[in-house]
Amino acid sequence: MKITINGNSQLIQANNLADLLVELKYHGKLATALNENFIPFNERKKTTLRDGDRVEIVAPMEGG
């Protein structure tokens, strides 16, 4: 299916958020949102992805 990840459209195989992170080889400290809603770590596996979804994956970064 085709979803948008951090603003970029992409074809993926995974059908849930946890599997998506594995498929794209994300690791380390991360937080996720699906269609502008926060998805906690322990809900990623049961969060099903659908065509056209928008996923945000964020990590610690510099800040003021």
């Binding site: 794209l24 380390g28 991360l30 937080a31 964020v58 610690p60 510099e62 800040g63 003021g64």
Partner: protein, 256 residues
């Protein structure tokens, strides 16, 4: 010692982690600043995993982390970012920014109060980036904030304390509320002045990170904050219009 949400901090300086010439200089600047708190953010992660090396550096600093909601222009964005930050950084502390104007980066006070209420209801310890507005401050305290972070001047401007009267009024209206001057500091004298006015701490970033020598500036800021704090505790004299001789007049030889 100063206490924010039950946590005692030795240093009155909080330092941002953005815009340094290199990670090594960030690290050295932090050590020179003796800062007790580092502000951090959350940003989109690429597959190369830039977030982890940064996080490793911050952990090595051994300081308390204060995540921000920088760049959020709506209550929803700020709330979602706060939720993400709590999970990633494992802290209930959040520097709440709800920006209302892209030129001045001044807070949207209405959105800020709304977001602060929602987050304090969920158990967050909110550090609201606000202005010197007394009414907004009162509403933020009513929303459950136990700390206020009024700006000195627009973020990154380096103008110092733009409205000293307003800040003095805020300090005097809420004498027991811990307050941090956040944003606008450009020089050590600005930081010192903030402390002289009785504020509890200073948060700055650009003034150090973008200085020609960030490590030296971090040291200067550290000393300025300490000097300002000592000054405020030492009960300084009131300024006066006329001169008052400091050398005794009595006993002066008659030589004219």
């Amino acid at each position: 010692m100063v206490t924010f949400y039950g946590t005692e901090l030795e240093s009155r300086l909080m330092l941002g982690t953005s815009q340094y010439p290199s990670p090594a200089i960030l690290e050295r600047a932090f050590k020179a600043s003796n800062a007790s708190v580092a502000t951090v953010s959350l940003r989109r992660e690429g597959r190369e995993g830039a977030g982890q090396p940064f996080w490793d550096i911050i952990q090595q600093l051994g300081v308390r982390v204060l995540p921000n909601t920088a760049g959020c222009h709506s209550v929803k964005e700020a709330i979602t970012t706060a939720h993400m930050a709590r999970e990633v950084f494992d802290t209930t502390w959040i520097k709440l920014e709800v920006i209302g104007n892209t030129d001045t980066l001044q807070p949207d006070i209405f959105g800020l109060v709304e977001a602060a209420q929602l987050l304090t209801d969920e158990g967050f310890n909110v550090f609201p980036y606000c202005t010197e507005d007394l009414v907004a401050a009162d509403k933020l305290l009513g929303a459950g904030c136990e700390v206020l972070m009024p700006w000195g001047a627009p973020i990154g401007s380096g103008m110092g304390l733009n409205n000293e009267y307003g800040l003095r009024a805020l300090r005097s209206r809420f004498p027991d509320v811990p307050m941090v001057i956040d944003a606008g500091i450009g020089l050590p004298s600005h930081a010192s002045r903030a402390m002289e006015l009785g504020f509890d701490a200073v948060l700055l970033n650009t003034a150090v990170a973008k200085a020609g020598d960030p490590v030296k500036m971090a040291n200067a800021m550290s000393q300025a904050v300490t000097a300002g704090l000592l000054s405020s505790q030492a009960e300084p004299i009131e300024p006066r219009d006329m001169a008052s001789p400091s050398t005794p007049v009595i006993g002066q030889a008659f030589l004219s």
